[in-house]
Symmetry: C2
Subunit: 336 residues, 2 copies
């Protein structure tokens, strides 16, 4: 063929080669608008032959959208290795899949919340069509304020009645209660909770845990402030045991913390589960490989990701939406 008129970079080039106008090419390639079938086929073929694809940026500019959704990880409490948390990783993977499926790009960003307007600033850059935030950290107030004005915003995390923003999350209270009942069944009565209750999710787990306990035990639960990084939580757990505490049942706010507790316990020759039952939260993939394999409260991350994206798309379509809680499930293994 004598079509070789240089590289095909734009719809204009293709139009020239095909001998039609740019509008025709546009319509042929986007499958929108009325167009002769034969013409459409011909142009699509030509495009394929020259390996031409529409420039997404230009398309988005024209359509007044970006085609991307931001996934933000606010590192409010823990500036450290938040992102290495296996839970986030799994969530991110599923989100990537869900978003890709719906034709959105996933823009990843960790943010160190400073001041009150990190979120507004981010949104104002207009780089994305919507925002998913994983974990509200200590930024509840900021989220509330932004959600007032900005629709396409969904948060993974604990829900509370007074929040004005949309959340998807595990029913942390129910999860905590599951853990409590399990430990009670195992005959444990000297209990401790490991976690940072400044994080709303963890606070809810703690609350649910307490609420499922008989009244006379509630007051006697040790509340140990453990951070989420492996290093930090291990240190806290080690100190705790060294100080002579010997609970027989521990509920940890996350699997990572639970594994830290088990590691620290092992160092003091406290046998799990003989002398101490440990229950985690999350059921990260590695939980089953822990030694002993971890009893934990499972969060359905895949479904969580699905719901987050689904809700966000509803928001983008300006449909009605409501926060969702996912029922957790107790996975009994050998650490309890």
């Amino acid at each position: 063929m004598a079509d070789d008129e240089g590289p095909v970079r734009s719809i204009t080039d293709l139009a020239r080669i095909a001998g039609v106008s740019v509008s025709t090419v546009s319509r042929a390639l986007t499958a929108k608008g009325a167009l002769n079938k034969e013409t459409r086929r011909r142009i699509q073929e030509l495009a394929a032959k020259h390996g031409f694809q529409l420039n997404v940026a230009a398309q988005n500019l024209r359509l007044g959208r970006t085609g991307a959704i931001a996934v933000l990880l606010p590192l409010g409490h823990e500036r450290g290795q938040h992102l290495s948390d296996p839970f986030f990783m799994a969530m991110l993977g599923f989100l990537a899949d869900e978003l890709t499926e719906r034709g959105y790009d996933l823009l990843l960003s960790r943010v160190l919340p400073d001041g009150d307007d990190w979120l507004d600033n981010f949104i104002r850059t207009g780089r994305v069509d919507g925002v998913i935030i994983i974990g509200q950290s200590d930024q509840s107030a900021v989220l509330d304020r932004t959600a007032e004005r900005y629709g396409p915003l969904v948060i993974w995390g604990a829900h509370a009645a007074h929040y004005r923003y949309l959340t998807v999350g595990t029913d942390n209270q129910a999860g905590g209660a599951l853990a409590a009942r399990h430990l009670l069944e195992k005959g444990r009565d000297r209990l401790a909770f490991f976690g940072n209750v400044a994080v709303p999710e963890f606070a809810a787990r703690y609350e649910g845990f307490l609420s499922a306990l008989p009244a006379d035990m509630r007051g006697k639960v040790d509340l140990v402030h453990a951070h989420v990084t492996p290093e930090a939580s291990h240190r806290v757990a080690a100190d705790y045991f060294v100080a002579g505490h010997r609970p027989d049942g521990i509920f940890a706010a996350s699997d990572v913390t639970a594994m830290s507790v088990i590691a620290a316990a092992a160092e003091q020759d406290i046998r799990v589960p003989d002398q101490l039952s440990v229950v985690g939260f999350d059921d990260v993939p590695l939980a089953q490989l822990a030694n002993p394999p971890l009893t934990t409260v499972r969060q359905d991350i895949r479904q969580g990701a699905h719901l987050l994206v689904d809700l966000l798309c509803r928001r983008l379509a300006e449909e009605d939406t409501a926060s969702v809680q996912i029922a957790p499930e107790l996975v009994v293994r050998e650490s309890s």
Copy 2:
């Protein structure tokens, strides 16, 4: 002030309010071109007051770039939970930081390589300025072909002399050798390697492992084909022990596999490290919390991420570049 002439969406709006032309506003906000200091200050102030930020999409369109870098995770071998691998997570986190710092967005995508042109197709969409691929999987040929024509492409993974693409990666052979020497020092002589040697990185680890062994041991190393997901590798390890194999030293291709091995060993009452030394690879954050804490070959992920981004930027600036190998480091804990 009587500036309130509706919302400020574009440079045009701001120009109207400021009583100047759009070019002036553009120059004021991008700090390029000659402009009166006072004017620039005034316009910047006005922009701040109205919360105006340049539309990045339009800017990028005009500048012929996208401002985004893709991070691709090809799931060639293991269609399963690749993304939940803690190693990827950590890498991704550091990449996010490095790219953000240089003003790039990070576009995340997992790809299931099908056929030969998934990468070309992706690049042709023109959504990004450059591509970072984490793990070459079994796509070495595809990468080679694409790298011929497409510059801004950097791969995390094993390097081989005949690759035409640019890699950053741990010196896997050296890492394997470290593991071998360590096991020898511990007096182990019935050795096994757990990993999928179809993955080039793992093959290199295995090779390095063998090469550091005395000639008479080399032939006797069990090569066990273990997948990377926790479930799969645990199953393989369990079968292996149940079948009666009793090595006294195991080198696992990843920490996840190592933890699976330890878990499976525990089920058969094989004591680690008394009867069996286990060495992993990666040093993921959870490795220190394993029970017993994992001896492993550490990859410097942060530096890896830094180098990947650095090399990519060099490529974008059309500077000279060469593949880099990072020296691994043995971290001795209690599993060996």
